[in-house]
């Protein structure tokens, strides 16, 4: 039985804000729409930046990608601050439970020593790579154009800080502060890590926000996450008695899967905009994925040994299929 409570009804005088009515028609807008579209100042900007007078305060000209409407690059997750933080808080609860489970049951002590060393050697230096990714996404948010594109970049940046901190906690759990120091030394000097560190530093010198998006979120992380967290942690380590490690990196696997939907959507809309965009994206993708694969090879070879070549080639093919689906053929 349905009960209709009687309330005072008042006819609204506006359905939504003007800028949203122009985009979506005169009807109530979602909170994602209200919190995203057209919030960035677009006209009559007062001053040129003193840090680079050649660009405007918000400038579509600092990237080679051209969009008629930058707000077309929307986030399929429709994350605004509320849905973003509430989602992550829930995941954080699960991650915390996983850490407690591993700690309280002494699962670290049960890890075969070689496996523990391998996990430390592989995962701890990656916290620096995640920090580089954080800075690159902060850059995309800061200098990109249009809120629907820049907003998720900030959330992504904070996620990567979270990942860097989870990796640090894994290092502390499996090996104490000495493990973090050893990881930093490897990141700075070990030949295994130098190609990747060079990749990260070179990407941080890129000041085209969309090229950086391709270099970081598509090329590097599009290979790194499946290789490290799926192929190595979830498959290889788990099969050798290291499921506890997989529990500690569950956030990274889930996050990669979820955030790839956003990355693909951005790529797809930018590629669909024009042949010129597709050409530029393909060039970037080609150059950066090739480098990313070469940089990751010695890293994953620590765990995969001679099979690394083949597995990296497989992941490269998988990434190519993924980007082809988004309309970019490298």
């Amino acid at each position: 039985m349905q009960i209709d409570l009687r309330t005072v009804t008042i006819e609204p005088v506006h359905q939504t804000f003007d800028h949203l009515a122009r985009r979506f028609g005169d009807k109530p807008a979602s909170r994602y729409q209200e919190g995203s579209y057209d919030l960035q100042a677009a006209e009559n900007l007062h001053y040129r930046p003193t840090w680079d007078p050649d660009q405007a305060l918000y400038d579509t000209g600092i990237t080679r990608i051209v969009m008629a409407d930058w707000h077309a690059l929307k986030d399929p997750r429709q994350f605004y601050y509320n849905t973003y933080t509430v989602t992550r808080a829930r995941q954080q609860d699960a991650t915390e439970a996983n850490f407690s489970f591993v700690e309280s049951r002494g699962l670290v002590a049960l890890l075969p020593p070689q496996l523990r060393t391998l996990a430390l050697d592989l995962l701890v230096p990656l916290r620096h790579a995640a920090w580089g990714a954080n800075q690159n996404n902060a850059f995309m948010c800061g200098y990109g154009y249009g809120v629907t594109f820049t907003q998720p970049c900030m959330y992504h940046a904070m996620d990567l800080l979270g990942i860097a901190q989870y990796l640090s906690r894994i290092g502390l759990l499996l090996g104490d502060t000495a493990a973090l120091d050893a990881g930093k030394r490897a990141w700075m000097a070990s030949p295994v890590w130098q190609p990747l560190r060079r990749y990260v530093e070179d990407s941080m010198a890129v000041r085209d926000p969309f090229e950086l998006f391709v270099a970081q979120n598509v090329a590097l992380d599009g290979l790194l996450y499946p290789l490290v967290y799926q192929r190595i942690v979830d498959d290889e380590l788990a099969s050798r008695g290291g499921s506890a490690v997989a529990m500690l990196t569950q956030f990274m696997s889930d996050w990669y899967e979820e955030s790839s939907r956003w990355v693909d959507a951005v790529l797809k809309v930018a590629a669909a905009e024009s042949g010129r965009n597709r050409e530029v994206l393909a060039q970037w993708l080609d150059a950066w994925t090739r480098r990313a694969a070469a940089a990751l090879l010695p890293v994953v070879a620590q765990a995969l040994g001679p099979a690394a070549d083949e597995i990296v080639a497989e992941q490269l093919a998988a990434l190519a299929a993924r980007t082809a689906k988004a309309g970019v053929a490298a």
Partner: protein, 512 residues
Amino acid sequence: MDVKAVPKKLGLKEKYRHLTRGLGWEPSYQTREALFPYAGYEGIRIHDWDRWEDPFRLTMDAYWKYQAEKERKFYAVIDAHAQNNGHLNITDARYLSALKIFLQAISPGEYAAHRGFARVGREFPGVGTQVACQMQAIDEIRHAQTQIHALSNYNRYYHGFHAFADARDRIWYTSVARSFFDDAMSAGPFEFMIAIGFSFEYVLTNLLFVPFMSGAAYNGDMATVTFGFSAQSDEARHMTLGLECIKFMLEQDPANVPIVQRWFDKWFWRGFRVLGLVSTMMDYMLPKRVMSWREAWEIYGVENGGALFADLARYGIRPPAGWEDAGKAIDHMSHQFMLGLYQWSFGTSFHSWIPSEEEMDWLAEKYPTTFERWYRPRWDHLRKLAAAGTPFKNFGLAKLCQCCQLPVVFTEPDDPTLSCHRELEYKQEKYHFCSDHCLRIFEDEAEKYVQAWLPMPQLFQAPLNGDVGAWMAWVGLKDGLDNGDFAGSPDQRNFEQWRRNATRNHREGEAQ
């Protein structure tokens, strides 16, 4: 590797250091300058970024957890507010003018701060500083969104909210706040921190937020109170960050002191001018007053500011150059500005009005040395004109200050009968200013301020060519709905009618 069976427990401080500071490294494949190209050009010398004290030591997992809790509560309240016609609980629809100004001028500033902090969160070459700035970046988009979401329900029932995004870039008075944020964002990373992190958050937030949120509470606006309360702990973090940043600059090198002092002078005055809007809100726009602008200034300006200046004196920082003149303006600014808003109300997307006798008595009591003598006679005159059916409208356009963008409506610091106006010729062009301090800011960076977009001249340029109707369409202002005197406005009529319907019975078929 030597692995201990039971890792020792780390203290909070040490854990944070590992989880944050330890993430960074000294680049070797690229130069520091290539990765952080804007860290040096302002002349600020930093010798050791590790000396930066992290004010909060917040890790991301804790951030998500705390913020999500606040978010759940906030949206539960504003959903209930919308569902139960919470807008009918406000004291009087006049109150909404304050919210309209807030949405058009301040919320876009929150968004700009979000972008600015994302930039400095990337550009500062120290991890601790970067993380703190990034957290503020994500907080600031939160504030923009919670404000828009809270006020969205008012937009459904009242005029003046609907075109806030157009007003932000085009209408004249929003350019006071917009130019403030554009000025900060076009500055280097260190000056940005003084402008937003220090001046806006530390010096001005108390004066903006406390009266605003208390005003909302006094006037029955649960939606705004809730976003205010919900933002409070974020603001506390931001204020600490701003203060930490200024101390860090001052401690790193004595050569930084004169640079910081110059920014301190500039941004205090820029901020003080933005507060002109707040002063009118407090003294005129809240149907139920919290405290006068003067009282707020005494508590949050004089007391808190004074304590801060005493704290900074040991670094060789003196109170900002405009401090004394600000003190002299306190008893005048809200009246002068509200008189301005009233006479130009045809061009504002909010209402103004002539204060009632009772309200003028309150103003006289709060401003014993100025109101009776200088301002009541003007309001009395305006009331007479309005009663005679010839309300005063100033269709002449306001002359705007080239720096702060406020109309030049203020008086000389030492003579309330003399309009304060400064002029300067620069490269064969004449520029106008509201005060000595705005003039000085211009002189320091003339090449920057000559670029300022001035909304009044825009009206006379193509494509508007002086057509006020076309201008209204361009800024999204609906004549007769959004603008003008509150008395007789649709907002007034609707609010009264809806409240009557909500609180009383009416017979079937009775006119509503």
